[in-house]
Subunit: 369 residues, 2 copies
């Protein structure tokens, strides 16, 4: 196999440039600034601009199909910033926290920065295993549990409605803070997943992290935190918010126009259509060309979580794959232990149909040895 | 004295709405998005967009009158976010850090969030007292020293060139990380302060925090960190940057156009002129109407640090002042101990000339009791 200057990297968990809504964002920023509201260039309110939070509440009420009010929402600079802030305000180094096994590998870097001990709780096809969680609670008193309930990163799994209820019951019993990373919640292809954990913000100790990165554009660095007043108050009373003011006031103002003009809905629906097609193309190519590789076809989100045949190691395969012009994230990166050696995470968000097919062809050549 | 619905609050350390450059920002964002560069809506490079960092380097080379290159710069979401990130990556709870006494009170909230023990080092009219710093280093091994070298918040003091050299010598001797909050550095009225501590980024362990909040608009949440490669690497390898990407890519792209079109210089020079006038008006009114109140007239920045006559407590005066329609920040807020009871911080950034004069008249009435 020759050298490929242009590797097709299924590891890239980001949208392709062509999907980024430059024209819509231009309309929204122009419309926003034409109003001449200098307040958007001022230090913002701790919880974020109330006009934006009202529009966001309407957007979420519509998309989540449940009532959301501005008082439940605090603006963030994206889910990563929000998670970092949660760690600063709700944990101390040496604390134990729970994550799903497997989980989003870069969240682990945030937890590392805060000196946290991370314990993995296994998941199955219905999401986090609540029986295993209860066992773990016998031995640990975690500061929080970090979960990605819908179209999980990396597994693509969606927590069932029953499992969500069970998790909430455990949260209530143990006063366990559940930090729900719900950035893929709105990215279903056809059928919506169960209601977000944000639904339970008033009946259990849940903080839901949302973001416009996956449903609009990552470069805006705009997201939100949804929860009960007490939890939100702890976050807005942080030094970084008290000193710097609310997060991203100008971008919030422009996103307010994106929502009010209907552009946020249009962009999101277009993305869902594209990702549904890309997922279908990737999965069809894999079934045809990689019959020994097994996976559950995703119903939303960004990822296919695939298992290599008989004891083949994804980490060992990767250098050969790269030489063959294709890459992916080996499953071990998403594990707290030495799990998922046979798994690989393939994202279909970054590439167009021909590249997805070519990537699978290259992978098939590599596997054929 | 009657009830004043509209208190003149000299505590507000922010620009007035009329100073915020809505038209210039509209031009810059429009120009930026007309180019159709979707990359600005993507997850950004860890250190920030290279085009923006190049333009910022040129802007700083010009305004600091010293050579600055893009390789020394990492984009931040403002000085507060940068300071929070510094704490996450360079400290652990229980660590001691040094601050100036007095210092910026909201920075103390950030340090509190990170569980830090804060020791104050006194300042005099030439800035931090290096003799006191050396004494303190006999007893403590601080993780960092936080300083505001130019037009200090709250005292308005500017560290002399000689004191800067001495501080750098101490930094080298003790391998002490100096975190320089230089957000007021470019806000001189007439005569530039000594070169920023950023100058020493390659010869001592210095990280300089800059921001567009005070020189353009707070609502952009855009700043920069300037330092040696090793220090910057520690910051960009943080979980929050690795997960969320570089800070504020879209706003960086628009600010790049602000700089390249010359608008950033125009805005900054206009602000300097306005603040120079406002400071002069406030000081003249204070000399006329509050002859018993002493202060050093500022030469830049945002603040007048004034001393009340004979053992009068600013904290005790404040409720009466509010009843009289005027407010300020009592000096004790800026102290780690029980210092500065007689001091008050008055900002001239938020109000126009007539309000500044009216505020001083109200204060004079209150003091006349």
């Amino acid at each position: 196999m020759g050298f490929h200057a242009d590797i097709i990297d299924f590891g890239k968990g980001q949208p392709s440039l062509s999907l980024l809504p430059v024209a819509a964002w231009r309309t929204a920023t122009g419309d926003c600034l034409a109003r001449g509201d200098a307040g958007l260039l001022q230090y913002g309110a701790d919880e974020g601009d109330v006009g934006f939070r009202d529009s966001l509440a309407q957007f979420l009420s519509r998309r989540y199909a449940m009532p959301v009010t501005a008082t439940e929402l605090v603006v963030s600079a994206g889910a990563s910033q929000a998670l970092d802030l949660v760690c600063t305000r709700f944990t101390r180094p040496g604390d134990t926290i729970f994550v799903e096994e497997p989980t989003y590998f870069l969240a682990l870097d945030i937890f590392r920065d805060h000196g946290l001990r991370v314990v993995g709780i296994p998941i199955d096809e219905d999401g986090i295993r609540v029986d295993a969680l209860q066992d773990a609670l016998v031995h640990h008193r975690p500061a929080l549990l970090y979960t990605i309930p819908s179209f999980q990163n990396p597994s693509g799994t969606t927590m069932s409605a029953a499992r969500r209820e069970q998790l909430m019951a455990v949260s209530r019993t143990h006063d366990l803070l559940i930090v729900a990373d719900e950035v893929y919640q709105l990215l279903e292809f056809d059928t919506a997943p169960p209601s977000p954990l944000a639904t339970y913000a008033h009946s259990a100790r849940v903080l839901s992290l949302g973001s416009f990165s996956k449903i609009c554009a990552p470069g805006l660095r705009l997201g939100w935190m949804q929860g009960a007043p007490g939890v939100l108050h702890t976050l807005t009373q942080s030094g970084v918010v008290q000193s710097g003011g609310g997060l991203n006031p100008f971008v919030s103002g422009a996103m307010c126009r994106m929502i009010d003009l209907g552009l946020a809905d249009t962009v999101l629906d277009a993305l869902r259509g594209v990702y549904a097609e890309r997922s279908a193309v990737l999965c069809r190519a894999m079934r045809e060309l990689l019959p020994a590789v097994t996976f559950v076809e995703p119903t939303g989100g960004y990822f296919v979580w695939a298992q290599l045949p008989a004891a083949q190691s994804a980490a060992e395969l990767l250098p050969m794959a790269k030489a063959g012009g294709v890459a992916f994230h080996p499953g071990a990166r998403f594990s707290r232990g030495d799990g998922f050696a046979q798994q690989m995470r393939l994202s279909f968000a970054y590439y167009d149909v021909p590249e997805l097919e070519e990537g699978v062809r290259r992978l098939a050549q590599v596997l054929a040895g």
